[in-house]
């Protein structure tokens, strides 16, 4: 009862105990997502957000996307959350731990969000048949290699996403410059 996860496309064997791990990770993600938006202390919110990100990374692994899961852990949980914690440390004021958590218009915001939830529910109830029940299994061991071929191209030719990749590097450069310039006291 131990089928290789990186078996090829038409292997009929399912991974062990998939529903159990799915419900565990989904409950973990949604539960700590609820903690993110309800905790008073911003550091507690950040820690709950890390748990959400790790649970979502586990869901990526179950979807045969190991490279995206690795990027999620390294970039989100390792990079962005450190940035968040540093900023919380810099701007944390005693006052914010005592005054109101929610703004005055929170009933309106909650109403708008529940309208969105009702939209999702109706779309999912009516459109459930649109999503096929088939379960493709992507080849997992060559996942990173195939993503690299799509990003960088192969045999001297550009891949379908090479230009977008270069534009993304330009976006990151502009973001670095913007963050540094806005954070400096005097330029």
């Amino acid at each position: 009862m131990n089928p290789g996860l990186n078996s090829t496309v038409n292997a009929g064997m399912a991974p062990v105990a998939t529903p159990f791990f799915f419900y565990l990770l989904a409950g973990l993600a949604v539960g700590s997502g609820l903690l993110v938006i309800t905790r008073r202390n911003a550091v507690h919110s950040a820690l709950a957000l890390i748990v959400t990100l790790l649970a979502v990374a586990g869901l990526y692994l179950m979807l045969y996307a190991p490279f995206v899961a690795g990027v999620q852990i390294i970039v989100y949980a390792g990079g962005i959350m450190v940035l968040f914690l540093f900023v919380i440390m810099l701007v944390n004021i005693e006052r914010s731990s005592k005054d109101r958590r929610f703004n005055r218009m929170w009933p309106v915001g909650l109403g708008a969000a529940s309208a969105l939830l009702a939209l999702f529910v109706s779309a999912f109830v009516k459109g459930k048949a649109l999503f096929p029940d088939r379960l493709m299994s992507l080849p997992e061991s060559s996942n990173t290699q195939q993503i690299a071929i799509m990003l960088y191209g192969e045999a001297g030719k550009m891949g379908p996403y090479t230009f977008a990749f270069e534009v993304a590097s330009l976006l990151l450069l502009v973001a670095i410059l913007g963050a540094v310039i806005m954070t400096k006291k005097k330029i």
Partner: protein, 102 residues
């Protein structure tokens, strides 16, 4: 047990998305508003990867990686703006940030 299909992942992603929207619309602390935006982007990523598995190709995963790049850029610029604002006004509450209100 019912096998886990694409639909299950979409439901989880919708729940995360709604949680993020509630956070953006109701919280006062700007740092937590930015964290809620990260929740929203993660919900979108989960949808993209689930569709990638549904179609059996990797385009969805590529899109998820680009969304991650955008999230990193957005967090850096947003937190930079937040620090610059905190230096001037000594507050990080969204309902006190009203310099442009007429």
């Amino acid at each position: 047990m019912v096998p886990i299909t694409t639909f299950h992942y979409l439901v989880v992603a919708a729940a995360l998305f709604v949680l993020g929207v509630i956070g953006v619309l109701t919280r006062r602390n700007v740092v937590i508003v930015l964290m809620s935006i990260e929740l929203i982007l993660n919900a979108v990523n989960l949808n993209l990867v689930a569709f990638s598995r549904m179609w059996g190709n990797l385009h969805g995963q590529l899109f998820a990686i680009f969304v991650t790049v955008d999230a990193a850029a957005e967090a850096a610029v947003g937190l930079g703006i937040l620090i610059a604002f905190f230096r001037n006004k000594e507050t990080i509450n969204v309902d006190e940030i009203d310099l442009l209100k007429w």
